[in-house]
Point group: C2
Chain length 95, copies 2
């Protein structure tokens, strides 16, 4: 879970997740939206993958990235819940 927050600490990675919200995209498609090199993007993808925030699927020459919303939800709402935030979650300990 610390991995998730570490992953979310970088603005580029948060934006990648947002792009993925509208559906799976290839590494190349994603990389095209950002002003950094492909290897740099590849490193960001690796961080997201290791945190469980995205999964990959090969499609021909391309690697397709899928958003894993449940991991995001568990981290964000889980932590928010510790503070009585986020609808109704009643103080469950989600470390």
């Amino acid at each position: 879970m610390s991995d998730v927050f570490k992953a979310l600490a970088d603005p580029t990675r948060r934006q990648v997740l947002e792009r993925l919200k509208s559906g799976p995209k290839s590494a190349g498609e994603l990389a095209a939206d950002f002003p950094v090199s492909k290897p740099t993007m590849s490193a960001h993808f690796a961080v997201l993958r290791e945190a469980g925030l995205v999964t990959t699927e090969r499609q021909g020459k391309s690697l397709i990235y899928h958003l894993n919303v449940s991991v995001l939800e568990e981290a964000l709402l889980g932590f928010a819940g510790l503070f009585g935030l986020g609808s109704d979650t009643p103080k469950g300990d989600t470390q």
Copy 2:
């Protein structure tokens, strides 16, 4: 807002926020709960303060730290809302 996620990336800082959930505490009280030196804790406090997650108030020799829940809420639920998570927030753009 990136400052908030950066602040949340460190486990010690997340735990400080959790300790603060039950009410304001002095720097010394907080520091006593963690296995790091006081200057290190002081640096963590500074990060939390700059992110707006805590506020301080002097009380005699002590500095009292207060949790600022609204900043935490805005970041956590705001970002979660972008993904349709967290109760009802309907995809508002909160960058």
